[in-house]
């Protein structure tokens, strides 16, 4: 909304810390350095944040160049030290598993939001969070398998979206 009120533009977001949700479910947090007309993003000092339950882990990734079409949403986050706000929302994506989004708050010179949520997230090490993630994926897969099996036993089949034929 820099030069053009009434339009969406990322220009004013440059050099600010952002949280970016990608189509594959990853959550990146980094400083938005550069954009282009396709909303391709260049993120700096990027950290990939993995959320599992109430725990999260950050994997430092450096510089990310993200193709615009892969971005689901992005929003500025208020910086608090290096971790940003600790508030979180849990969002469930059907295919990608649950993801917790950092809260999106407008930057007022990096001020924090005053309220803390009741259950602040707990940061853990990278190995731990990866392990947790693996475990979560595992349980999900198994549950899915059971479900499909149960349905098949009853003679039903729910077609998956990617294998759905027309009519």
């Amino acid at each position: 909304m820099n030069y053009m009120p009434g339009t969406a533009s990322l220009i004013e977001d440059i050099d600010k810390k952002h949280l970016v949700l990608l189509r594959d479910g990853r959550t990146l947090i980094g400083f938005l350095r550069s954009i282009d007309q396709f909303a391709n993003l260049v993120l700096h000092q990027t950290v990939e944040r993995i959320h599992v339950g109430k725990k999260y882990g950050d994997i430092p990734r450096g510089i990310f160049v993200v193709r615009g079409e892969n971005v689901v949403l992005l929003g500025e986050i208020a910086g608090r030290g290096k971790n940003g706000c600790r508030r979180s929302l849990s969002v469930n994506f059907p295919r990608m598993g649950s993801t917790s989004l950092g809260s999106l708050a407008p930057s007022q010179g990096g001020e924090d939001l005053e309220k803390e949520s009741d259950t602040p997230l707990q940061q853990v090490s990278i190995e731990e969070i990866l392990e947790e993630q693996r475990a979560e994926q595992q349980t999900k897969l198994e549950a899915e398998k059971l479900k499909v099996q149960a349905l098949q036993d009853r003679g039903l089949s729910i077609p998956r979206a990617d294998t759905l034929d027309e009519y």
């Binding site: 820099n2 053009m4 009434g6 050099d15 350095r33 550069s34 007309q37 260049v42 000092q45 010179g109």
Partner: protein, 741 residues
């Protein structure tokens, strides 16, 4: 590459003389070398100079201005000096607003201030760091045989000093990216991904390949064309801005010469396939971001020889530009200018040595602390904005950008209303001027390749070609299964709904068009409108030739679909009273069925308000029969009253009940307002009312729906027909009395 080979072969501790000899040998071959190795060269030991350079690199150069009498320094100094001169000259030449550009400011003041300030916001990654300044032209181009040995032999990378508060982008670029290693891709003066940005497209290529090593020669200053007005080849023009070192490749745009034709060239290219003539707006958009457009935008073909005259053109123009924002809404424009001002101020603050304006917002402070800030230059941001702006161009804003237009219109009305009340300062009341980009008819000409015999068939989006020989076979009735028939029917209904909707949108738009049209055109418009309304009605009722009374079926089908219902609600205001009454009757007749079908959508209530409006125009007769229909009352009062599922269904539905109440209310209005009305009518009404009340009394209360609104005159209505007891019953049942709720 004789030169390279010889250099590569030389062991590092090559004898100076031999080295010199080499140079002199080549004088005939490559005269550029003359300056480096021949007479023009300074008499120095490249090794030492190299080491000094390396030291400098490591220290993250403090000041290279140490004007020692050193031979090694000379080149530096000359270059430095040269740079300074050039920078000064440049700064004089650039138009004013460009001075605000952070990169330019840096370039201008760059020489003494080389050390990276913590949190200096100056550079972009494309900015020359010391290395770039030194590794100039020759290293940026493979073709240039001249290689300054000094530069070529630069160390790999300065050791990583304390990095935390340093501006990393000021560090030497890794050597790999700039060294002219044979076979590696040429290091481009302008990185490949850089937005074209007001550069001559053809000259762009040239410049990549061979910027002249003008800067390497110590004899540069006198040779260098001081006034820009001279005709310079694009190469020279391009290489010039490299000088100040701090200027990033994308700063080329700053050179006024590029502002002219390249943009015009680019615009048509960028907008190829777009509707509209680009040249008229192009100057406007160009103007938005740079110097005011030249009076006549240069045709796209001209660019290589172009820069010369254009330079004159543009340079002579006023420095301050006013962006062409006439197509934007005045408020929008205001906001835009405000922001521009803000940005300019910000940049001024950022660039200033701290003396200018002490309003540093915390945002600025934040930026200051961020050493990586402003990697994206203002130029680049403008470039992206420009693209976004271009996308906003349209030939018909009301078509393309309906909601934007409406929104700002509303805002305008609000502010106008406010102003009328208060005596605020008079804001712009200018009418919204949307520049209509002229629609050019593009006749599609299929692609023709040169040198090919005949015309090649190239299939594209404009020129589709049949690829499969698909034969359309219409199914016979026998083959179809019931399911398919149902599906087909539904599809047909959907198609009809879509067509009718298009008509509806057109009809709704007529008012606006009417206002915009000329006097002569208006009758034609009116006719069109009427015609469309008729078609809409026909579509709704399913008019078939030869049928007297079309069946309800068609209409009911439409009403089964959510979109159909909403559409009917929107169409009703446009229909004539009879037509609308007809629709209403049909709806009432089939209401239980529709209610059943509406169970999921729950969109019937949207019809209530147009129906209510309609009711107020209907005569008593119609209302009576409508009531009959609605309640599915038997024809005569004497007949036994069977169970009335119709009524039950109606009463159990929100819409149904509301409609019923409204009808009753209207009936009451008619009765009470016109006591001298015909007796037959009022008799009929009375009869119907008796039946109605009887039915109503029978229905258990629990099943009733909650109506949308309860008309106030129902109590008086019922009081006429029933006695007190029953009246109370009715009241409670229908919750007619406010207190009961």
């Amino acid at each position: 590459m004789f030169r390279y080979e010889s250099l590569e072969d030389c062991p590092l501790d090559e004898d100076e003389d031999a080295f010199q000899g080499l140079g002199e040998e080549d004088e005939e071959i490559d005269q550029f070398n003359d300056d480096t190795f021949g007479s023009g060269a300074v008499d120095d030991d490249w090794q030492e100079a190299h080491e000094r350079l390396a030291e400098l690199e490591e220290k993250l150069p403090v000041v290279v201005n140490e004007q020692t009498g050193n031979g090694e320094r000379d080149e530096m100094d000359l270059l430095g000096d040269h740079e300074e001169n050039l920078a000064e000259r440049l700064s004089k030449m650039v138009i004013e607003n460009e001075l605000e550009d952070p990169a330019i400011m840096r370039a201008v003041q760059t020489r003494p201030v080389l050390q990276p300030r913590p949190g200096s916001l100056n550079s972009s990654i494309w900015d020359g760091s010391e290395v770039l300044r030194r590794i100039r032209g020759p290293l940026l181009a493979q073709e240039m045989p001249t290689v300054s040995v000094l530069e070529y032999a630069l160390p790999q990378r300065p050791p990583q000093g304390p990095e935390d508060d340093r501006d990393v982008s000021e560090r030497a670029l890794p050597r790999r990216s700039t060294s002219p290693i044979i076979g590696s891709p040429p290091v481009r003066a302008v990185p490949i991904g850089t937005p074209p940005k007001q550069m001559a497209v053809p000259s762009f290529n040239q410049q990549i390949l061979c910027p002249k090593p003008v800067h390497v020669r110590p004899t540069m200053p006198p040779r260098y064309p001081a006034p820009y007005g001279e005709r310079m080849s694009p190469n020279q023009l391009c290489s010039v801005p490299l000088q100040p070192g701090r200027m990033s490749p994308s700063q080329f745009a700053r050179v006024p010469g590029f502002v002219g034709s390249p943009l015009a060239a680019m615009n048509p290219k960028l907008l190829q396939g777009r509707v509209g003539q680009m040249l008229p707006p192009a100057p406007g958009f160009r103007a938005f971001f740079s110097a005011p457009a030249p009076a006549t935008p240069p045709p796209p073909q001209q660019h290589p020889p172009g820069p010369g005259p254009h330079l004159q053109n543009l340079r002579s123009q006023a420095p301050m530009f006013r962006p062409d924002t006439t197509h934007l809404h005045p408020q929008h424009r205001r906001l835009l200018h405000q922001r521009q001002q803000q940005n300019r101020n910000q940049h001024r603050n950022l660039n200033g040595a701290g003396d200018r304006g002490s309003h540093r917002s915390s945002h600025q402070d934040h930026l200051r602390k961020d050493p990586y800030a402003n990697l994206m230059l203002q130029r680049e941001k403008d470039w992206v904005s420009k693209i976004q702006m271009m996308q906003l161009q349209s030939t018909d804003p009301y078509l393309d950008d309906f909601y934007y237009q409406n929104y700002f219109e509303k805002l305008e009305k609000l502010s106008a209303a406010e102003e009328v009340q208060g005596d605020g300062p008079k804001k712009e009341r200018t009418k919204l001027i949307t520049p209509q980009v002229a629609k050019l008819e593009h006749t599609y000409k299929p692609v023709q390749f040169e040198g090919s015999l005949g015309k090649l068939t190239v299939s594209s989006v404009n020129n589709p070609r049949k690829m499969i020989d698909a034969v359309v076979t219409s199914r016979s009735e026998d083959d179809e299964t019931k399911e398919k028939q149902v599906r087909d029917k539904r599809r047909k209904t959907l198609v009809i709904i879509e067509k009718t909707y298009s008509l509806l949108l057109d009809v709704e738009d007529y008012e606006r068009r009417y206002l915009l049209s000329l006097e002569e055109e208006r009758p034609a418009l009116m006719d069109e409108r009427k015609h469309k309304i008729c078609s809409m009605y026909d579509n709704l009722r399913g008019k078939l030739p030869g049928q007297e009374r079309p069946s309800d079926d068609h209409f009911v089908q439409i009403m089964c679909i959510r979109k159909g219902k909403r559409m009917v609600a929107r169409i009703l205001p446009f229909l004539s009273t009879e037509q609308a009454a007809d629709i209403l009757m049909t709806t009432a007749r089939n209401l239980p069925f529709l209610i059943k079908k509406d169970a999921q959508d729950e969109v019937l209530p949207c019809l209530l308000s147009p129906f209510s409006l309609l009711l107020y125009h209907l005569p008593s007769v119609t209302v009576t029969s409508l009531l009959q229909q609605l309640m599915n009352l038997p024809q005569s009062a004497a007949a036994p009253a069977p169970a009335n599922p119709h009524l039950t269904a109606v009463l159990q539905n929100k819409f149904g009940l509301s409609l019923l109440l409204v009808v009753l209310s209207r009936g009451e209005d008619l009765q009470s307002s016109d006591p001298t009305s015909e007796s037959t009518q009022s008799n009929q009404w009375t009869e119907v009312m008796f039946m109605a009340t009887r039915e109503l009394l029978r229905i258990p209360q629990a099943a009733l729906a909650k109506p949308i609104s309860i008309p106030t005159n129902l109590v008086s209505l019922f009081s006429r027909y029933v006695d007190r007891q029953k009246l109370n019953l009715l009241e409670t049942k229908l919750q007619l009395v406010q207190g009961i709720r």
